[in-house]
């Protein structure tokens, strides 16, 4: 980092420090503390142990480079971080770092700032609480931006015994094999035996556009909560999943956060408890909304949409938006036909494909978490992209039923990575007003508390391609297609040519 960049970094660190100082008051000439924030949230809303995961871009050798971090922090409900631990897979390598402290402040709208300190320094984050148990998080340092989520941990699940039964996972990032550097996605499932053993491990990888087909886990798969105190105190453990060496943090017995530690490769993602049923084609029956993202040979790519499955292998009613490094393709353009399969082994894996008579064929792999949710991986040539699909509500969605408060969590690539969190209120006419915080890697600085205005336009029964236009003050409008899962969750995909952006809207209570 050059001198000016270091100075910029130092200045940016001062911004949240000043905010904390004001929030906590002080002596002498310090202005009196502001009144308590009005709204649903306050510092007390963030209380207890939370696990987080993030993927982003950092400066490495003078250029932006992917990195991952997962960990846990403990908030005291009064603006202080009392302890925590994280694993990072960053430019210099992998490491496990103890948090020595930190501060945070939550506004009435659920937006907040967070600082986590360890022996390498202090990292800055902006967060948006969707509830007191979960939220969106972005890193807002000058030399690093990242986005992800956090959830409150259940300490009683910090044992090997609590990790038991089937789990479905989705890891993505970059695979480095010698001088071969390629985007990578792993999705699959395994059974945890409650004692550290892993069985029935299956996965599909897509490394640099080469799909592996379903593979059994190589020998050596395991999971184990740390025995040095980090397991019982923080829910940290190590594992080998799908042949990748990992660290993980327990959210609760239904959710684990993973990060691969086989540097220089770097992948991260979550595992979700899988419903204990025998999955068949009839397990996939209804309408589903999906959002996936990754890379193509053109650059960043993201796709969102919806489809219907009839429980008998047929796909219909496909609508989607694909933004492939600025080339936006919409379905349907011609006539779309599709089909799906569910693996005969009944572990929940399967395939989906559909063909638009004008545009061509889209092919995917999935592993069902339950009949209403799955991890989803595209396997078309020269595309590495993954995410989830979720059953859509059967109740029509209207602008009026969408009214309320929402948090946003978006990740984007324009000239470089940009990460966004925010909060807004949507009225019954679809008008949105709120504030957003975002970090622009190419600018080397975050933009905080930026006024957001927008409009959600709902068409038909609301389960198709709706639109959302958002303007962050001082910037050009962002145009999205909005696919509603239900009145509480909307998946957005940007349709502008100059930015690839996607992420969810999640209702606040």
């Amino acid at each position: 980092m050059n001198t000016s960049a270091r100075r910029l970094s130092a200045l940016l660190v001062l911004i949240p420090l000043s905010f904390f100082a004001a929030a906590c008051g002080g002596g002498g000439s310090t202005p009196p503390p502001p009144p308590p924030p009005s709204g649903k949230f306050s510092n007390a809303s963030l209380s207890g142990q939370y696990a987080f995961s993030m993927t982003g871009t950092e400066l490495c050798g003078g250029v932006g480079s992917l990195f991952t971090r997962i960990g846990t922090f403990t908030a005291d409900g009064n603006g202080n971080i009392t302890t925590g631990l994280e694993d990072v897979n960053v430019c210099p390598g992998t490491s496990t770092l103890q948090f020595s402290g930190g501060r945070y402040s939550i506004g009435g709208d659920g937006r907040g700032v967070l600082q986590l300190a360890n022996n390498t320094g202090t990292t800055d984050y902006n967060i948006a609480l969707s509830t007191t148990s979960a939220g969106m998080i972005i890193q807002t340092d000058a030399a690093a931006t990242a986005s992800g989520s956090f959830q409150r941990q259940t300490a009683s699940a910090f044992t090997n015994a609590a990790i038991s039964g089937g789990y479905v996972f989705d890891f993505n990032g970059v695979d480095v094999n010698g001088s071969n550097v390629n985007p990578a996605s792993y999705i699959g499932r395994f059974d945890a035996d409650g004692a550290g053993g892993v069985g029935n491990g299956l996965y599909d990888s897509n490394i640099g556009g080469t799909a592996s087909g379903q593979q059994a886990f190589p020998s050596g798969a395991f999971y184990s909560l740390d025995s040095n105190g980090n397991g019982t105190n923080y829910g940290r453990g190590t594992a080998v999943i799908a042949g990748r060496t990992c660290a993980f943090y327990v959210v609760d017995s239904t959710r684990l956060k993973f990060l691969t530690t086989d540097f220089p490769s770097a992948l991260a993602g979550d595992a979700y408890a899988q419903q204990n049923i025998a999955f068949t084609p009839s397990s996939l029956n209804g309408s589903f909304a999906f959002l996936i993202g990754g890379s193509s040979s053109n650059g960043p790519i993201t796709t969102a949409g919806r489809f219907s499955a009839d429980g008998n292998g047929n796909i219909s009613n496909v609508i989607l938006d694909e933004n492939n490094s600025g080339t936006v393709t919409l379905l349907p353009t011609g006539t779309v036909t599709g089909s799906y399969t569910v693996d005969s082994n009944q572990f929940g894996g399967g395939t989906v494909s559909w063909t638009d008579s004008t545009v061509g064929t889209f092919s995917f792999i999935f592993y069902l978490i339950s009949p209403t949710k799955a991890v989803f991986q595209e396997v078309d040539s020269n595309i590495v992209s993954d995410g989830t699909f979720t059953a859509q509500t059967t109740t029509p969605i209207t602008a009026a039923s969408m009214a309320g408060d929402f948090v946003l969590g978006w990740s984007a690539i324009a000239n470089a990575e940009e990460d966004y969190v925010g909060q807004f209120t949507l009225n019954s006419s679809g008008s949105a007003t709120g504030l957003a915080d975002f970090n622009v890697f190419s600018a080397g600085q975050p933009f905080l508390a930026v006024p957001l205005s927008g409009t959600l336009t709902v068409g038909g029964d609301g389960t198709g391609a709706n639109t959302f236009e958002a303007t962050l003050q001082g910037n050009s409008p962002l145009h999205f297609t909005a696919y509603a899962v239900d009145p509480n969750t909307v998946l957005l995909v940007g349709t502008d040519n100059n930015i690839v952006i996607a992420g969810p809207l999640v209702r606040q209570p």
């Binding site: 320094g121 340092d141 490094s325 040539s381 910037n475």
Partner: protein, 165 residues
């Protein structure tokens, strides 16, 4: 992207919108139908169809309006001008690779089609004796992951420069 001029323009627009929400809504044009907004799907990188392009730089843009997003260079060849995609400008700058009109260049890559026409997705860019790998042998941009293959001393420099983890 975040220039002061644009911030000012944004403030004016927001103020007017706050005062006259009904009027703004009434004057907003309806978006065009979805069917008119779609583009053909961007073609994939076909390794088997790699070509070598040799020519002279006509123009160079770090933020071209052409697709895919990123740096484009227009190269004059004996067979006509060819649009070449080089990915993020930051990656080129970090590797001290710059181009200007009149430079003699050589690219290895695959021709792809986009809504704005044919484009060479460059895998290797060469100017004089300087060659830079832009894409992996599978056709994916190296920008996001390549720094991880740098020597340890070069990567460790990031930490010495003071970035907290």
């Amino acid at each position: 992207m975040k220039s002061k001029v644009r911030i000012l323009i944004g403030i004016v627009a927001l103020s007017v919108g706050a005062l006259l929400p009904g009027m703004i809504a009434a004057q907003n044009p309806q978006p065009p139908p979805r069917s008119s907004q779609t583009s053909a799907r961007a073609a994939a990188y076909e390794t088997a169809k790699e070509v070598i392009v040799v020519g002279t730089v006509v123009s160079y843009s770090e933020s071209s309006m052409s697709r895919p997003n990123g740096t484009h260079v227009l190269v004059k060849t004996p067979n006509g001008n060819i649009d070449v995609h080089l990915g993020p400008a930051s990656y080129l700058r970090a590797n001290n690779f710059s181009l200007a009109a009149g430079d003699s260049v050589r690219f290895v890559g695959a021709i792809s089609s986009t809504e704005s026409g044919s484009v060479l997705l460059a895998r290797i860019a060469q100017k004089g004796s300087q060659a830079l790998a832009i894409r992996s042998t599978k056709g994916f941009l190296l920008a996001a992951g390549a720094p991880r293959t740098l020597p340890q001393a070069q990567r460790a420099q990031s930490t010495q420069n003071g970035s907290a983890r």
